[in-house]
Amino acid sequence: MSDLTRLTAAETASAIASREVSAVEVAQAHLDRIAKVDGQVHAFLHVDAEGALAQARRVDDGELSGPLAGVPLALKDVLCQQDIPTTVGSKILEGWRPPYDATVTARLKAAGVVILGKTNMDEFAMGSSTEHSAYGPTHNPWDLTRIPGGSGGGSSAALASYQAPLAIGTDTGGSIRQPASVTGTVGVKPTYGGVSRYGLVAFSSSLDQAGPCARTVLDAALLHEVIAGYDPRDSTSINQPVPPVVAAARSGEVKGLRIGVVKELTGDGYEEGVQQRFDEAVAILQSLGAIVTEVSCPHFSYALTAYYLIAPSEASSNLARFDAVRYGLRVGDDGERSLEEVTALTRGQGFGAEVKRRIILGTYALSSGYYDAYYGQAQKVRTLITRDFQKAWESVDVLVAPTCPTVAFPLGAKLEDPLAMYKQDICSIPSNLYGGPAASFPAGLSEGLPVGLQVMAPTLREDLLYQVGAALERALPAAVPPLAWEN
């Protein structure tokens, strides 16, 4: 086979299963690819060549099998992998090797998936560009001077630069979908509770959700089936069957499907090219037999504000455990300084500016006398947004909107303007607050850069996302990154 890194996950698995190629060859091809291009892309924080090849050998030896056995994957560095450094993009966890596997990690291993390494991300998943990684930004393979999205920019860039056919992301407020949108890849945020959070280093517990990332809709669905499903270790995990996502991805049927275009997610701040590609994508779906209407979700306008109270509040509590006592970074422990001083020095140097900003925001929002006005009020808005969704489901099957108002912007462009950065997620956050599934699918290019179509569905109706995504994928010519920077 000519170039193993250009195959889809489904093709790769099939070639390995039929012994056309060995899993070790596939893993080696991807490790070589990483060695060749990741110096420029910086998608990986840690590459585990030894572990990847060992796992590939187990597949070749017939110890592990399944629909994705032997397929390489890039794991976002927010998920614990036993004995493998897990930094969450932060200095505060530098050198920490978890003594246990996240449930997602364990399921991938059991399915014979070959984990190549851990991918770069905004520190603690707080950001939309990976520029807040303590280990330097990731570059968008479509244009290395631009952001790959965030927080899961390492995962999306690994896919778009053919360093891995599959990746895992996590989405608290768009961190799977926005990177997918700006790299022309597929990213799915499952229903909250659909994929176990056990071993996912928490940012905002009521919003965090791990999900599949891939270059094709079917690949994402295959990965979805591997990682999803009830886990008794996660109390918020849903004890229900996983929706038939692979069947939906294979069908791609949208005839008669009622699609609602969200009235509020358009207008000022939405780039013209993004809006055009979005409108065209909706027109294509209509031409395939979908019934398109406009739906108003009046409270979506408040989603960003509510999100920036709820997520930082939970983060301020979740990140309290990084105190230099038990693991990770410890600064200034000279035998003279008190515990408080060492903790303060460690947190001062270990957390980046954006993380500190959100800890302070959240601490303030939860504090006595402000709780009702901020955290309490945000929870009410969350309820109203949920009602908007529920009302929408009375008239449509899915909602659609652009995934992100812009294409990939240049590195550094929004670094000094947190609010402009936050607005990257204005379209993706409503689904996080509601808890239902949502996905971003490639919808063509604007000025040579990818645009994403976002599809949102009722809880546990991931199958509808894959149906729409597959339909669009078949109707639109695949946009392939030129990778002109490769020598």
Binding site: L79, Y100, A202, D234, S235, T236, S317, R321
Partner: protein, 497 residues
């Protein structure tokens, strides 16, 4: 003098008390993970990613702990929530792995109950505000200093074995109207509560091991005036200390108030050795805990039918069993109250069930065994003697094989680990000597040794025979049948009664 005597203080001021009791549940595993809860294991051997709060780890609620908490609530006549949540209480402390405690804040499992207690023959109703569930913290050990306290220590070690053990907090409403006996009421409440919990089998309620701990709130006010500012005394870890803590705080506050001072709302630390408390952190610099609903756990919604079945299966309350004791066994109210306060109700009943009379069981557990327990610094039920063994000794006394003094020696032998009562009797050769021949020698010797007393008896002062009986008992190491010895002495001295 910086205190006013208790009775005097209470003649001048009205007390309001409140008690917060923490109880470690006796579940086999921790509150949010599967780790064991055994006391005294090697440090940090009963831990996992969850109770160490490792990044990414998530809690899962221990259903047995929920059940135990509901049963406690039911036993305290509380309303059981049909829907409630855990909350995060955020503060930094090195022995708390996540730097927040998963607890319950404004949505406790059980609310609004009461517990009736007997004090000096009077029934006092203690209103219960709430019963909620939370997780315990780890334990810090400060090394290198003289005191074991953090000040002066060179470093600290943390043991997380206790971290995550389910902890129930039982909070009273402010208790008013305790008049001249707030300390006695406080002690009676904690004692009764301990018996209720023991009866439920939800905890081993060992205050000395920390599985039951008390915080005591006290305020004083002039009659007819608003309640005073309260202090909260922590670290009150024995029944006796509960009483002492209230007593000393009443005396201290009365002095401050009489001198025209102001009571500071503060946390005070109780010292077992002195019986006094010292000022801790003042509430004015108190932490803002930023409580919010725990997003990692789903709400708890106890099924109404399940709660009803738990209610139906509750054991008899100690007060009910106590009444039975009084009614069926003919013990006095005073005795039963004394048994409750000494925590011996269960063992008294068990001793009766093993065949002893109520009076004998009472005498043993409130008498010699209570003294032995006091001397050993343990609770009487924890002494190394079983109710069946006490009944066995009582039977030996009833059959005339042992007298009271010998019986005490047998019991002491059992307590000393010498074996069962029968074994101690055999090994020590403790049995009443009824053999006339064997006694005669001792009787002759006693008369010979004390001719003066013998003469008095001969002269008609029969009471003087007591001294001679004493000599016989002494010579036989208490094994003589005292009645027989007396009769023999009188016979030898030619006196008849």
């Amino acid at each position: 003098m910086t205190a006013i005597p208790y009775a005097e203080a209470l003649a001048e001021f009205e007390p309001v008390i409140g008690l917060e009791t923490h109880v470690e549940l006796g579940t086999a595993s921790k509150m949010f993970c599967g780790c064991a809860t055994e006391f005294g294991a090697e440090p940090n051997t009963q831990t996992c990613p969850v109770c160490l709060g490792l990044p990414g780890a998530l809690p899962v609620v221990n259903e047995t702990a929920i059940e135990s908490t509901i049963r406690i609530g039911l036993a305290l006549h509380c309303d059981i929530a049909t829907w409630c949540r855990f909350a995060r209480k955020n503060y930094f402390y090195p022995d708390m792995p996540k730097n927040f405690q998963t607890s319950q804040y404004d949505e406790p499992l059980c609310t609004d109950g009461y517990l009736d207690v007997q004090v000096k023959g009077e029934t006092v109703r203690i209103p219960i505000e709430r019963v909620h569930l939370e997780e315990d913290t780890g334990k810090s050990l400060h090394v290198g200093g003289a005191t074991g306290r953090i000040h002066g220590a060179s470093h600290s070690l943390v043991d997380y074995n206790r971290a995550g053990i389910p902890l129930v907090e039982i909070v009273t409403k402010p208790v008013t109207g305790t008049g001249a006996m707030p300390a006695e009421v406080a002690k009676a409440y904690v004692t009764e509560l301990r018996d209720v919990l023991r009866g439920l089998g939800v905890s081993d309620v060992k205050m000395e091991q920390g599985s039951m701990r008390c915080d005591v709130n006290v305020s004083l006010n002039k009659p007819g005036q608003e309640w005073g500012t309260r202090s909260e005394t922590k670290n009150v870890n024995s029944l006796r200390s509960v009483e002492r803590a209230v007593r000393s705080e009443v005396e201290r506050q009365a002095y401050v108030l009489r001198e025209g001072g102001r009571i500071v709302q503060e946390t005070r630390h109780f010292h077992e050795d002195t019986g006094m408390s010292t000022s801790g952190r003042s509430k004015e610099e108190a932490t803002d805990y930023r409580n919010f609903p725990e997003p990692d756990l789903v709400p708890i919604a106890p099924d109404v039918a399940w709660v009803a079945s738990l209610r139906a299966a509750l054991p008899e309350a100690p007060s009910v069993r106590r009444r039975k004791l009084v009614e069926e066994l003919g013990l006095s109210e005073n005795d039963s109250e004394a048994m409750v306060n000494a925590g011996v109700l269960d063992v008294v009943l068990a001793t009766v069930a093993a065949g002893a009379s109520a009076a004998e069981a009472r005498n043993w557990w409130l008498g010699h065994l209570a003294q032995s327990a006091n001397a050993a610094g343990v609770d009487a039920p924890d002494l190394p003697i079983t109710p069946a063994q006490v009944a066995e000794v009582a039977a030996l006394v009833a059959s005339g094989s042992l007298n009271a003094g010998l019986a005490r020696q047998v019991v002491d032998g059992v307590l000393a680990g010498e074996g069962s009562p029968a074994e101690v009797v055999a090994a020590r050769g403790l049995a009443i000597v009824k053999d006339e021949g064997a006694l005669s020698a001792a009787v002759e010797a006693a008369i010979a040794a004390d001719p003066g007393a013998a003469q008095k008896v001969r002269d008609g002062k029969v009471a003087a025979v007591g001294a001679l009986v004493g000599s016989v008992m002494k010579a036989t190491r208490g094994q003589a049948d005292a009645g027989m010895a007396r009769a023999l002495l009188l016979e030898k001295l030619g006196v008849s009664e």
